[in-house]
Amino acid sequence: MKIDLLQMVDQGGCSSKIPPKQLEEILKHLPLPVDPDILVNIDTRDDAGVYRISDDLALVFTTDFFPPVCSDPYEFGQIAAANSISDVYAMGGIPALALNIMMFPSSKLPLNVYSEILKGGFDKASEAGVKIIGGHTIDDSPPKYGLAVIGFIHPGKLITNAGARPGDYLILTKPVGTGVIMAGHRLGMASDKDLNETKRLMKLLNKSGAEVMKKFNISGATDITGFGLGGHVLKMACASKVSMNIFMRKVPLIGSTWNLVDNGCIPGAAFTNLDYAENGTSFSSDLDYNLKMIAFDAQTSGGLLMSVPAHLKALVVEELKKSGLNETSVIGEVVQKREKSIYLTN
């Protein structure tokens, strides 16, 4: 009998992330470690922590795990691994080592499902040149999987979410809509074409995007994941102390994302992300409602959003497209800090 991991996820995936607003409240009270070798600390809410080991080596340290986002265990493993490793790429690092993090309901699923998930993770990690050298499992339902990843980087070449500068353009390497399409799929509303394309995108490592960033010495970037495009743009704008104009019609969407949202297929996570970001966001009066909700659709293993100086914009787009990232788009611009952090328009 073919196992469908999505059958184990009761609440349509909405419940897997703590609402960002609540998370913010918790993190505010966390003591901030003080150490001159901490190059990226928790206060900038970046994609990973970074710690200097020597003059030319720093460690990038990150983790991600979540319940199934697709039916097949092997594909789930691949996507979870790609998602976990993505944060290292977003910081400009080279991912190197990882540990498996697994929660598995041994009384509800056969053990071969466990090994299929790990195999998917292993294969994707190998593709990224990452060696999984350990891990930990506990019994829990629904299953959850991901990695804790260490990457290496030169301390002077960090790419952080505090590196955006007024005058830069914002370039996105993958289309958005994974949350909408997967929610639609669970309800039988998404086409096979959209489902397959979404899985392909979720499995796609942000490796080539990272290489282009490094080639052009980009200093500001993040990856688009659970807080949605809007949530991650907000974090980047706040950390960089700038404002950002996002033109939603320039944001590439996966397949029928807009149509699904137009039919009401708006995952709950989009509402919680909107809740978190709206105080810092200005919405144009004619902003298309569907595009607004798409802006906050939680993404799994999304693309890189890089802040690129104007004179490099066309070249960076060309390089990204040449590397196979065909839907690379210029989606916005960075401006001097204004009253709001994000200005969202059609």
Partner: protein, 240 residues
């Protein structure tokens, strides 16, 4: 929103409680409406099912029609409330023992549409209001060094495809038509422009001269009359 209690017409008591100044036929009509009110029960449905059902009901409802949406999920209650509020749809909601009941009225008389309408184009930058055109008369940009000229033309085409306001028309002639060859390294920005709505025209005489009519990767082949017409009606013509 006024809450109307459904009246049982046989109950003299209910009639006595009704506002005696009301027109009786109005009361009767409202009673019939309440009894025939569409109810969308989403209890047990996975997110975002309840919103999908709500949107569907809105689309299918008539002007002025009120319908009920029931949910047993607190998150769905919050999200439906948000959805209705953001779209300025009139509603009231009551809760009893973990079941929320929305009364929603369609006041617009049409499907809930957005400012952008129901059709949507991804990555559709505006075409320039003045309608500028580009005339490309060579595969090289500038004079003096041909290799440099080739590189410059490629960069120019990429830059053109990244502009916020794209040209109405790009016309290629003489050796410029070679830029649109399928295996040329300039075909991508040209196809990009075409996808975004720019009209790409290749001079037919030139395409024949270079014998490349079956190797073209973008645009349409047009004669000099068309090219003259398009360029003359443009606001500005760029000649790189």
């Amino acid at each position: 929103m006024q809450h109307l209690q459904p009246l049982k017409l046989s109950s003299a008591e209910a009639l006595a409680q009704a506002d005696l100044n009301c027109d009786f036929s109005f009361v009767l009509l409202q009673s019939v409406r309440m009894q025939n009110m569409k109810i969308i029960d989403t209890k047990g449905q996975k997110c975002p099912g309840p919103i999908i059902e709500t949107k569907k009901a809105l689309r299918e409802s008539m002007m002025g029609e009120t319908f009920k949406v029931i949910t047993d999920n607190k998150t769905s209650f919050a999200n439906i409330s948000r959805f209705l509020g953001d779209n300025k749809i009139k509603y009231s909601v009551s809760e009893e023992r973990g079941i929320w009941t929305f009364l929603i009225t369609n006041e617009t008389g049409q499907a809930v549409t957005n400012a952008a309408g129901t059709s949507y184009e991804v990555n559709a930058p505006k075409k320039s209001q003045a309608g500028f055109a580009v005339a490309i008369s060579s595969e090289l940009m500038g004079k003096g060094d041909d290799d440099l000229g080739r590189q410059l033309m490629k960069s120019f085409l990429i830059a053109l495809s990244c502009l916020d306001e794209i040209p109405e028309v790009v016309a290629f002639y003489n050796s410029g038509v070679k830029l649109a060859l399928k295996d040329s390294d300039t075909i991508e920005p040209i196809q990009d422009l075409e996808r975004k709505g720019t009209e790409i025209i290749l001079c037919s005489t030139c395409v024949d001269h270079f014998k490349i009519s079956d190797k073209i990767g973008a645009g349409r082949i047009g004669d000099m009359y068309i090219i003259a017409q398009k360029l003359s009606s443009a606001g500005n013509v760029l000649r790189p």
